[in-house]
Subunit: 303 residues, 2 copies
Amino acid sequence: MIQCTRAATYDRHVPAAETPGPTGELLAQISDDGGVEFARPDRPLIRADDRAVVRGDAVFETLRAAGGRLDNESAHLDRLEGSAAAMGLPVPDRAAWTELARQVTAAWGARSEGMLRLVYSRGVEDSGRPTCLAMMSSVPESTLRHRRDGVRVVTLARGLAAADHADAPWLLVGAKTTSYAVNMAAQRHARAIGADDAIFLATDGQVLEAPTATVVWAVGKTLCTPPVEAGILDGTAVRALFRRAPEHGLSTDIRRAWVADLHAADGVWLTSSVRGAVVVTAIDGQVRGDAGLTPRVQSAAGL
Amino acid sequence: MIQCTRAATYDRHVPAAETPGPTGELLAQISDDGGVEFARPDRPLIRADDRAVVRGDAVFETLRAAGGRLDNESAHLDRLEGSAAAMGLPVPDRAAWTELARQVTAAWGARSEGMLRLVYSRGVEDSGRPTCLAMMSSVPESTLRHRRDGVRVVTLARGLAAADHADAPWLLVGAKTTSYAVNMAAQRHARAIGADDAIFLATDGQVLEAPTATVVWAVGKTLCTPPVEAGILDGTAVRALFRRAPEHGLSTDIRRAWVADLHAADGVWLTSSVRGAVVVTAIDGQVRGDAGLTPRVQSAAGL
C-alpha cells in the first residue's frame, strides 16, 4: 500500500544528512493512495481553503529525531490518534503515518538532531480528504539555548477552571490541535516582559501546563507533574521521563500543585519532546535553584 | 504601489459572474510588492510551515458580497487590524487589503452573492513576511437553509469566566484568530445531538456568543446583545443591525443575559456577516417563537 516513488528522487535533491544545519528542511505528505510523497519545503503545499489554514482545524505532533531514530514515536502516534478522535477526524492510517515518519527520518539521516512535525488536518473544505504532513527541520536555536541556560517563566492565567472536561468534549481539552494562537500569544507575552516562557494557571491558581511543555517539579528526589484531569495535555516527554526516572534514582508522583508548591520545590522543569527537560531558573521574577538535579533529570529525559 | 498584472488574466480563466454556483471560488493574495495576485483556488498557495498551518497563528474576517459590493467592509478591516494588533502581527497595509478585497469582489461580479474570507497569517516561520489572502466562494447551502428555516441551538459551556480579559491580553479575547478548533467542535457537537448550532455560556451561565455568530434577543421591541466586556467578539453584523434598528421601529440595548433571559425573550437570533440574522427556533430542545419579528430583524440586518 505504501508507495514512495518520489522519495528517492527527492533525497538526491536535498541530502539532508550531507548538509546538516539550520537551513535544512524536509517536507513530505501522505498522498491520496496512502504513499509517501516528498515535496520541496520552499514550495506551497497547502490550499488556502484547507481547514488548517482557515479554522485551525487540525492536530499535530512534534517529535525529536536523533541518530536516525524518533524518540517515543508510538506514544506520539497514539496521541495523534487520540487528538484526531477528539476532533472527529477520520482515524489516521497508522501504517501510512509510520511509513511517512520513517521515510522522512531516514532522509534526514543520523548525523544531526531534527524536529519532526506531523500535521493532520481536516483538509480542503467538504473534500472529506484530510491533509497529512511531515516536516523535519533543524532544532531551533532557542531550543538549544533553553536546554543550556534554562528558562525564566511567568505564570499566566489560562482563564479556564482546572477540571476534568470529559463531559465537555467540544472544549478539546487534551487534544493537541493546531489552534495554538493563545499558546503562542502567552509565549510572546512572556518574552515581552523579559521572561522566556510561561506556565498557565487555572482560575483557582492551580498549575496547569506551559504553552508547549509539561510542568515537572521535584520534592526531594520525587518528580511530580499535574494530572491530565486538571485539563492538560498528556505529555509524551514527561511520560518517558517518569518511566526512566527510577533508573536514575528518582521516584515519581502525579499531584495537583499551586504556584507556592513550585516556589517550594527543589527544582522545576518544563518537559517537551524536542527541548527535553529544561530547568526553570526563575518564576515570576523570583530566581530559583534546582538542587543540582538537572543533569540527572535531563539524563532521565533521554537528552 | 498596487499592482495587479495577473488579475485580468485570471478573470478570463474563472469568470465567476458568468458561472455562479457552489463550485465558484476565487483566490488572491497580496504579493510581496503589495500588489494583488490572483491564483488558482485548486492549487496549493500556502507553505506547510506557514504559521497559520502549524499554529493557528493568523486572524481572519468573513464578509458578505452582494451586488458587487461588500457589506460593512471598513468595519471588517478595522477588526482585522484590531485582531492583528492583539496578535502582535505587523499592522496590516490598509490600502493593500482594500485593493485586494475590491479586486476579488469585482472579479466575483454582481450577479451572485458571495462569501469573502480574508486571512492574515504570520507567514512562514522566521520569514517576517505575513501571508495575506482573500478567498471568495459561494454562500454555503447550510447558510441558505439557516436563513430560511432558522436554527435549533444548544447551550454549551465555554469553560471561561465572563470577564473583561483586557488584563490578560494573551488570551486573545476579542481577536478573531483562526484558532477556531473549539468553535468548530462546538458546532459539530451541536449537530451530533440533533441541533444546528450552539450558544456558549460562561462558567456562571452567562450568555456569551455562538461559535461563529453574535447572540441577539428581543424584549418587546428592544433588541439586546451582550457587551463585548463579557469576553466576546465585537460583531460587525450586530453593529450594523443595531445601527439600522431604529429605522425599523426597534430600539437596542447592550446587556448581560442568562439562559433564562433567552427563554423569556420575544425572539432570539444569531447574527453574522453572511448568514445575517437567523432566527433561533429552539434552545436546548425547547421550541420557541419570534413574536413575528424575524422579517423586520432580517430587514434591519440588511439581508
